[in-house]
């Protein structure tokens, strides 16, 4: 194989030379295919690994940190919760239905690969403005794909987020998070162990799906040549996944496995070599044993195929029959394809012929890591958004905000997802700021996913801090205390200094926020090169968080619940208009920087809110986010079906529509609010009453609010 072929596969000349150096000769086709994937950005994290090492990964409740297929935290009584978020951006930009569906499939496998039963999915989406036909198409099909896959496998989709911003027009983001439940002692690792043990592939047969797909796709900017990459889309089959899931868990239940690993990006190549690397062993694989969907596949194609719904396990030779029996019962066709050796080499055979022979370490660990060369941009990177709102009267601004795509109700999306399967969903979407799921030990967990890319574009450091705080605030409103965090770093081309700067600053923000909250990062994913012809996406670190609450009966609610309750704004809330949703609707350019946040004060406010919710002292709690205070009040009105009488100076736009972390709209009897005021700032702003929002200079009926808030329905005709 030649250097030019290596370059065509996405390697640099220097990397190619490095490969030749490490194996002592030119790689053949199979070896080059394997290297090109394992040394891709997607698998090797070559532009992000050094940064990721700066994130805190320790915590008292940590069970499994980064490095495994999913991270996990302890939720008590022997139970652990596993979770991870992953991107499927490029595949979804090419084929949104299958791209999003297989994104869900992939993250489910990561979770059951460590032995956890997936119990929840959340999805985090970014599209261009819905005025664009392409954005509507992507939205429609991505949501349908997510629903199709998760609903069919029977994992509740309990939350998510979607933003519409012009910079995502050419490059949508589809991130999916999965949460699983496992008894701690049942967790299984992916390290291959035991020389002579057998490698069993089970699940779907192998076709040409995604050959040169995800890895190459995820490592190259999408240009006009998209069409050429199309034939490689992966197709998902959730029915196969469901069988694979049950089969995997049964294999573990019966104690038949030494190691388990899913096949994701780079297929058999990455799954097998990573198992070998972690276990410090070698593997011998015969591609001829791999059940194929298409007869004439080349060994290299078999090694890199990204056919979905496949798993790899290691078992002792004496247990092979039992393993294959369980596979047969679940109709997922298990096949022994190789065994563990002590060579620390990946030896690939086609029958008797050795077609590849690479040191595991060279393949998995030796990819050069690059230093970023960050430079803050001298001029704004992003155009000002288009002006879409002219109104200035508070009522019209409020209705405009409620109808804006980033604020409007997500019901038309989430109703396409089964949020109740499993019978443990205590809070569904729009009932609370975080989803709440009951746990087998009588407690519950809260889950949220968040990340406002526009704020990060304004200020990569503070925007990333805000994403973490927002997620934690959502949990606090549900009464949950964060235990751990996962993240997906969606950025443009890191080889460009300004993108490198965004990435570096955002990771610094994530790390600082996590340290300030004493939260470990349990895992995550990085998606780079998210750029279209028109420039990079907004830098979008998506943060997923899992927290615990002792008693699901006291899970918080967003909606006002009782006429006569006092309404208050609580917390160290210092709103500002620049960078807000209202500023966007008014077409204002992004500010260069966001106000500094007193993270410790926000943390204290979250603790106070959480305690009050857990104690049953608050009727409702909702954090102030996009659209500011008045929008948050309106959302609590709509969620509870109750109006509000407010004493607020609505002419003070900064106060009622400005944004910033640390604010909570709460409702409760006055005495409870006085008690809360002993811990954090609390200002009573009105009373829960009637069927409208009213106050000096403000009147809008619940029906008017509801109609505005329902704006997204029109996108799903």
């Amino acid at each position: 194989m030649s250097r030019s072929e290596a370059v065509a596969l996405g390697l640099t000349e220097g990397e190619y030379d490095g490969i030749v150096d490490r194996i002592g000769r030119e790689p053949n086709q199979v070896e080059l295919a394997m290297f090109s994937l394992m040394w891709s950005e997607h698998c090797a994290y070559k532009h992000s690994k050094k940064l990721l090492r700066t994130l805190p990964v320790e915590g008292p409740r940590l069970v499994l940190g980064p490095g495994e297929n999913a991270g996990a935290v302890d939720v008590g009584d022997g139970w652990a919760v596993a979770f991870k978020v992953e991107s499927h951006n490029h595949p979804s930009a090419v084929e949104p239905f299958q791209g999003a569906a297989t994104g869900v499939g992939g993250i489910l496998r990561d979770v059951f690969a460590i032995g956890a039963r997936p119990i929840a999915v959340l999805d985090s989406l970014r599209f261009g403005e819905p005025t664009s036909e392409r954005s509507r198409y992507l939205l429609d099909h991505a949501v349908a794909g997510i629903g199709h896959y998760g609903n069919s496998v029977g994992v509740a989709n309990v939350g998510g987020e979607v933003y519409f911003e012009a910079p995502y027009e050419q490059n949508c983001l589809v991130n999916a998070m999965c949460v699983g439940l496992v008894e701690r002692e049942r967790l299984i690792r992916s390290a291959a162990a035991g020389v002579g043990n057998k490698l069993v592939l089970f699940g779907a047969s192998t076709g040409r799906d995604g050959i040169g797909g995800a890895s190459v796709l995820a490592s190259a900017e999408l240009g006009d040549a998209d069409a050429d990459k199309r034939p490689t889309v992966q197709i998902g089959d959730p029915f196969e996944e469901k069988k694979l899931l049950e089969c995997s868990l049964e294999l573990l239940d019966r104690g038949l496995l030494v190691a388990l690993q899913d096949l994701g990006a780079a297929g058999l190549t990455s799954s097998s070599s990573e198992m070998a690397s972690k276990g410090e062993v070698g593997l011998r694989i015969d591609v001829r044993q791999v059940p194929l969907r298409e007869a004439d596949m080349e060994p290299f194609e078999i090694m890199v195929s990204e056919s979905q719904e496949r798993m790899l396990c290691v078992c002792e030779p004496g247990r092979v029959d039992a393993v294959l029996e369980v596979c047969a019962r679940w109709e997922v066709g298990g096949t022994v394809i190789g065994e563990i050796t002590d060579t620390r080499r990946m030896e690939i055979f086609d029958g008797d012929e050795r077609v590849g022979d690479i040191p595991v370490e060279a393949l998995v660990d030796d990819c050069p890591l690059y230093d970023l060369e960050p430079a803050a941009p001298a001029a704004p990177l992003y155009d000002a958004p288009a002006r879409t709102l002219e109104a200035t009267a508070a009522r019209d601004v409020l209705l405009g905000l409620l109808a804006s795509p980033n604020v409007a109700s997500r019901r038309p999306l989430f109703e396409q997802y089964d949020s109740v399967v499993g019978s443990r969903t205590v809070r569904r979407p729009e009932q609370a700021d975080a989803a709440v799921l009951a746990m087998p030990n009588g407690g519950a967990i809260g889950i949220s996913i968040d990340g406002n890319g526009r704020r990060v574009a304004c200020d990569p450091y503070r925007g990333a801090v805000e994403a973490v705080l927002e997620c934690a605030a959502n949990l606090a409103c549900a009464g949950a205390e964060p235990l751990g965090l996962t993240n997906c770093l969606n950025f443009g081309n890191p080889e460009k200094p300004h993108i490198a700067w965004q990435l570096t600053e955002a990771v610094r923000g994530l790390g600082d926020a996590c340290r300030a909250l004493d939260l470990p990062v349990v895992g995550g994913n990085v998606s780079l090169y998210n750029e279209g012809g028109e420039g990079p996406i907004y830098p979008t670190p998506v943060v997923g968080m899992v927290g615990e609450l002792p008693d699901p009966l006291h899970a918080g609610r967003t909606g006002f619940a009782r006429e006569g309750d006092a309404i208050a704004i609580a917390g160290p809330f210092a709103p500002a208009l620049p960078g807000s949703e209202l500023a966007k609707l008014r077409g204002e350019p992004l500010p260069d920087g966001l106000p500094e946040t007193d993270v410790a004060a926000v943390r204290a406010a979250q603790a106070a809110i959480r305690d009050a919710v857990r104690g049953g002292r608050l009727s409702s709690a909702h954090d102030v986010a996009e659209g500011g205070l008045l929008t948050a009040v309106a959302e609590s009105c709509l969620a509870g079906g109750l109006g509000a009488e407010l004493e607020l100076d609505v002419a003070d736009e900064e106060r009622v529509f400005g944004e910033g972390p640390g604010g909570f709209v709460v409702s409760a009897p006055e005495a409870a609010l006085r008690e809360l005021a002993e811990r954090i700032p609390v200002t009573i702003i009105g009373t829960v009453r009637g069927e409208s929002i009213r106050g000096p200079g403000l009147h809008a009926s619940l029906d008017e609010l509801r109609a505005a808030h329902g704006a997204l329905a029109a996108l799903f005709d």
Partner: protein, 224 residues
Amino acid sequence: MPHGGDRSVKFGVLQFPGSCDERDALLACAKVADAELLWHGDRDLKGADAIVVPGGFSYGDYLRAGAIARFSPVMESVIEFAHDGGLVLGICNGFQVLCEAGLLPGALLPNVERRFVCRQVDLEVVDAETAFTNRCAPGELLSIPAKHQTGRFYAPDLDPDLVVLRYATGHCFNGSQDEIAGVRNAAGNVFGLMPHPEHAVDPLTGSVDGLSIFSSMAHAGVAV
């Protein structure tokens, strides 16, 4: 026991490779009686007094929802069991399986809006005398989640006496004929509905109204 079920009754809950709701159904049954999962590939109903065909996607729902599942070995036994008068409840996909198997009248078509919808709906008890609703009051409203893409009930020339549950006004999102949510067979021992009573058996998750379906069956199971 809150709903006066009877431990001497035993539910069998079918499990297909793609069932999603069988564990939830099993737990719901276990609240009122004994319950056990029955594997799709086995013909043995293990002495069950009542059968639940749960929701999910049985065999992936390829071709048509429930089309392939009806030919499974366990369904052969269930068909026989039903013909002998045994109580059979089909939920969502299970309802579709029972229609495909000819145990219930009609068929289920794609929702008028084509999309999958997951929503808490109110169901009106039209007939409170059946083996599946004897613990309900006539006209009572049950709040139960519905979640499906193929739930538009269609049965030309349906005997109106067979209608057991109807969607309350404004709650029928799928376009079902006469807003029918659940029907029984003429003999009264087989019942199917699209919404999911097994997800409404615990106040924590929003409603306990689904429990009365299971406790009615447990009650009727003793009587049989």
